[in-house]
Each structure stands twice: as structure tokens, then as C-alpha cells.
Amino acid sequence: MYAREVEGRTLTFGVSGMLFRDGLVMYDRQTETLWTQVDGRSVNGPLRGRQLRILPAVHAMWKQWRTLHPTTRVLRKGGEFRSAYDDYNRNPARLGIMGRRNADNRLPGKERVLGLRVGGAAMAFPIAAVRDARLVQTDVGGTPVLLVAPSPDLPVLAYERRVGSRDLTFRLESPDGRPVLRDVETGSTWDMSTGRASAGSMTGAQLNPSSAYSAFWFGWRGYFPTTGVWQASARPARE
């Protein structure tokens, strides 16, 4: 998800019909510059070299999203009752348009990952492993981040753990049955759905949400070849 304003001009985007590393290429109707959908880079045209500002989005199952945000509004549907790629999504053997191979066996090709990009670095978090861990705290590109998945009813949410110049460490608690994050350093409690401190000395402070991109492993790895992979076993003592 991106801001559509570039250097004071509002752009509207269309589908170019091109792919870059198997990812969609957009064009803007104002300048016909080509932009990558996956990371918002202009790859050709008058605005070449610019970067769209990435807005933090949450990828979630509908039921999870609605549980988290009961007052959400939803893009009106035109009769799409299943994914156009339903069969493809379910078939572990089908990798991409041209029949890609899984170039990196750190994970199975169709493993669902959440991809984070922070400070130019990329990290893939296998969703199943994050759900098992419930709270993941690690660094990506030198920035401390957390992923939290307190229950199967809720989406995995990702935030940076740095507030101002202070790095925070969190615990997942549920004092009244409702999961909250509490930071070890100040004991403040934080609302997971907004990333805002709701009690304690940090009240009102805000964690920056990280955009976590739901992708198949082979697709994420194909686009970001130098990506890391978070492994639960490497961080057994962090929770």
C-alpha cells in the first residue's frame, strides 16, 4: 500500500501488463512511469529513481480483521466469492507463472511467509512458526521489530520496537483475558491493534507499524534474493 503523492503531484495507477521478477508492474497515468508493485520503485519513465512512500498495511484473514476492527468498512464486492487463483493457491507444486523452481530450499516453495522490509533489509517470517511463538522479537536491517499473534482469531501484527531512541522489549500478557503487550523497560501496556501505549509512563506513545507482506516463500525469495529467514529455533530464549 502506497501514498499516491510524489513530489506534490497525485498519481493514479493502472496495470501495465508487465512483470518484474514475477511481480506486477504498475504505470501512472500522469507520467507513464513504470513502478514495481512489490516495493514501489520506479523502474522506467520520467519519474525513474523515485520511491513511493509505503503505508503500513495488515494482511489478515477476513474473520481475524473483523475481530480486530469490528467497525471496518470493506471494499464493495462485485461477486468475487473465491480467489481467481484458488486452485493455484492450494497446490503446493505450482510455483508462479512460468513454472518457477524454488531456488532456495530454506523453506518449501509455497510456505506462507510474512515479509518485512526495514532499512533496506528483507526478512521472511514463516506464518505458522510466528503463530506458534505468539510473540517474536528480532532485528531487521538494524531496527528492532516485533510480530505478535496472540490467538488464531487475530491477525499477525508487526511493529518496530523503537520509540524515539529507545528500544523496548515486550511480553505478551492477558490480565483480563484480553491480550496486551507490556514493555519490560517501563511496564507500560500497549494496545496490540493500534500499537499505542494505553497505560503506564509511555501512555500515548506509538509503535510504528511495519508493513508485513503475505507471500509465498518462492515469490518473496525471488524478489528479494538476499532475504533472511527467521527461525524460531534460533531464538528460543527471547519470549
Binding site: M1, Y2, A3, R4, T10, L11, T12, F13, G14, V15, G17, M18, L19, F20, D22, G23, L24, V25, M26, Y27, L34, Q37, V43, N44, L52, L55, P56, A57, V58, H59, A60, M61, W62, K63, R66, H69, T72, R73, V74, L75, R76, K77, E80, R82, S83, A84, Y85, Y88, N89, L95, G96, I97, R100, P155, S193, P209, A215, F216, G219, G222
Partner: protein, 96 residues
């Protein structure tokens, strides 16, 4: 975009672009421009209305603002790829 890597069978139409050698290696033309139509005038439903046509396991892309939250179904985005929207007064592109 189905976790990127479009799965549909597509014939490569042409590759005659004015790109640098480096990018030309990597950009493939697979469909005519706008063969997949973006959504430029999005309309929204309340959760109760939407809930009647949404599946529990339907992957959505969500955004949280100061006063509003919006969700965009990727099942719908599979057929449109881009929504040109305005959220809390700010022009945004929801892409998949």
C-alpha cells in the same frame, strides 16, 4: 497477486521496450496495458453488509487510520490488482 508469481498461463506478447539492459532482462510483457482493470472509483460497505459475501479465510489487506479502518479483499484484487483510493483525505494505492 496470489503471493506474487501470477499463476495464470500467459503468452509473452512482446519485449520491445526502451529499457536499460539491466531492467530489460527482468521486465516481461505478459498482457496489454489495462487488460486487468484497476478500481478507480471504489465504494465501501459496512462490515455487516460485507460479511454476507466474505469468507472467514478470505485474505484482506487492511489499513488503520485515526478514525477509520478499511479492508480490501485480495480475492477481489486478484481481478483488479490496484485500487486508487482516498483514505482519510490522503490519496492511496492499494496494490496486490
Amino acid at each position: 497477486m496470489a503471493g506474487f508469481g501470477l499463476p495464470v498461463t500467459i503468452i509473452v506478447l512482446s519485449v520491445g521496450l526502451s529499457l536499460t539492459a539491466q531492467d530489460a532482462e527482468r521486465i516481461e510483457v505478459v498482457l496489454p496495458r489495462d487488460a486487468i482493470p484497476s478500481i478507480d472509483d471504489p465504494a465501501f460497505d459496512e462490515a455487516d453488509t460485507a460479511g454476507r459475501v466474505m469468507a472467514d479465510n478470505e485474505l484482506v489487506i487492511g489499513i488503520v487510520g485515526a478514525n477509520e479502518q478499511r479492508a480490501y479483499s485480495t480475492w477481489q484484487l486478484d481481478r483488479h490488482e490496484i485500487v486508487n483510493d482516498v483514505f482519510e483525505g490522503r490519496p492511496i494505492a492499494v496494490t496486490w
